[in-house]
């Protein structure tokens, strides 16, 4: 996401370190920062969590509201993701209308969740053709130190995994708080999460910090889900103006497969806790 101005000296330093397989913060090129998850950010929502990779931190919350279904799917709930890259998170974010960075972020996360069928929309129908639940996932960036895409994507999944069903008062036709016990209906088997790789200098790097992100040539986000123990690609998005060679593609796919195997059990545990 970043557009910081990085001095050429710093750029050369980052790239020459990477040539020797090192990063300024001591990580290896393919190493992720540690994941922290904290619950209970707001008790007024279906769920709200704080998710952090190193210093990159986002809050994500889920709300459910009553809505009219779309004419082409009268028996399904509806779903919307928004992302706010708040100026508190970075010197490059501004107040006001969402810019292209937050639009892209929200759309990539929205598509990933929607197309995978992670939320069981049919079970969110109250009365066919008239009334359904609308699920909102709202993401707010708190601090950007690179790789907001992966952090925000995970935060959205974890928030959905913990989201409670609303209590619907039929007589007054309104929602009165959220259930203590019942969670929103999810298809646990299709859980997939995204991993973003950047090309910095001549090296493919995972989980970039903001300086690495600012100087990278391209990024490729790969979302993978579980298909009988084998990772399966569920979404991809390339960003920035650099081009991907066949060798880069091979490296990224191998890396994505091995990172997925390493991270999937942990992600699952956090989402379905």
């Amino acid at each position: 996401m970043s557009n910081f101005i990085i001095p050429n000296l710093q750029k050369e330093k980052i790239e020459s370190y990477l040539k020797e397989g090192k990063r300024l913060d001591g990580r290896k090129a393919e190493e992720y920062r540690e994941l922290f998850v904290e619950d209970g950010v707001s008790e007024n929502s279906a769920s709200a969590v704080r998710v952090r990779f190193g210093k990159t931190e986002v809050l994500a919350g889920v709300h459910l509201a009553l809505a009219v279904p779309y004419p082409d799917s009268p028996d399904s709930g509806t779903f919307m993701t928004s992302a706010e890259l708040h100026p508190m998170a970075s010197q490059q974010f501004d107040i006001g209308r969402p810019g292209i960075n937050s639009v892209e972020l929200a759309r990539v996360i929205d598509r990933g969740i929607r197309e995978s069928g992670f939320i069981d929309m049919k079970k969110l129908c109250i009365k066919e053709g008239e009334k359904v639940y609308q699920v909102f996932v709202d993401i707010v960036a708190i601090n950007d130190d690179g790789n907001l895409l992966d952090v925000a994507g995970l935060a959205a999944l974890i928030a959905l995994g913990r989201a409670r069903m609303p209590i619907y008062n039929e007589e007054e036709d309104k929602i009165e708080g959220y259930s203590e016990t019942e969670k929103i209906p999810l298809e646990n088997d299709v859980l997939s999460f995204s991993m973003t790789f950047h090309k910095v200098g001549n090296v493919i790097v995972a989980d970039v910090g903001h300086e690495e992100e600012a100087i990278s040539k391209f990024r490729l986000t790969v979302a993978m889900g579980d298909n009988g123990g084998v990772p399966r690609i569920t979404a991809m998005q390339k960003g920035k103006a650099g081009t991907i060679s066949s060798d880069d593609m091979e490296t990224i796919l191998k890396l994505a497969e091995s990172k997925w195997a390493e991270m999937f059990p942990k992600v699952k545990e956090y989402v379905f806790k």
């Binding site: 759309r107 084998v230 690609i233 569920t234």
Partner: protein, 240 residues
């Protein structure tokens, strides 16, 4: 591929066939560059204006000119009318198109300027972003903007278990049976054969994905031929 339920395409194409393509260069007389590109029923037009001075001034880059892309579907391009003006989808497509084209244009000779690329879709039958990029690349070449190489774009994907090239609307958004539909817009550079745009939605194994990329590279060779012919045969509409 074998045992899938998607064994035949409605329009009779082989699974690796691109729909019939048509390209024209120089369709907008007042522009610095312009082109149209049609793939089956999907039509795209692209107009280039610039290099020209970039306003607001604080957006200017003293080292290089910048490329600015605006993609949009015309209100009458699909069955349900689209509200005119930008929306989240069109903003994202504008940006990924801008990245794909920026990878080959070189505006270092035009500091502080902008080259505007306007892509509009008068009729849509899936694959609008790739048709738009094919038209835009032609319009940039027509405008004489320095380019390191050409770019060509194609949609590939998987319908149930069958790998396909150039999805139409039925394959892209109506088909939901079996393993469903996976669509993958790809942009390939003409000389180095690298990937300048890649998006994917659906479910596909790593091996199948690698196969679709090879299919995309092959199909882009066909697209490139159409683009080159259009540039060779360009007949300027005279501005009277």
């Amino acid at each position: 591929m074998g045992e899938g339920i998607y064994t035949k395409r409605e329009d009779g194409r082989a699974f690796t066939d691109v729909r019939s393509m048509k390209a024209n260069v120089g369709i907008v007389p007042s522009a610095d560059g312009s082109a149209s590109f049609e793939t089956g029923k999907t039509k795209a037009i692209a107009v280039v204006r610039g290099p020209r001075t970039l306003h607001p001034q604080h957006m200017q880059n003293a080292q290089t000119g910048i490329l600015r892309v605006s993609y949009g579907m015309m209100p009458f391009s699909v069955e349900d009318r689209i509200r005119p003006g930008p929306n989240r989808r069109s903003e994202e497509i504008s940006k990924v198109t801008e990245w794909a084209l920026s990878s080959v244009v070189d505006l270092s000779g035009f500091p502080n300027t902008v080259v505007d690329v306007f892509v509009q879709i008068p009729q849509a039958d899936a694959g609008t972003r790739v048709a738009g990029i094919n038209a835009a690349a032609l319009a940039l070449a027509h405008a004489g903007i320095p380019m390191k190489e050409m770019v060509s774009a194609i949609g590939v994907g998987k319908i149930d278990k069958t790998l396909v090239v150039d999805l139409d609307k039925f394959e892209d958004s109506v088909f939901h049976d079996g393993e469903g539909s996976t669509d993958i817009p790809v942009v390939v550079t003409s000389r180095t054969k690298e990937i300048a745009l890649l998006q994917l939605d659906g479910k596909i194994s790593v091996d199948e994905f690698k196969q679709t990329i090879e299919m995309a590279k092959k199909a882009c060779d066909d697209v490139l031929k159409v683009q080159i012919d259009a540039l060779k045969n360009m007949s300027e509409v005279k501005d009277e």
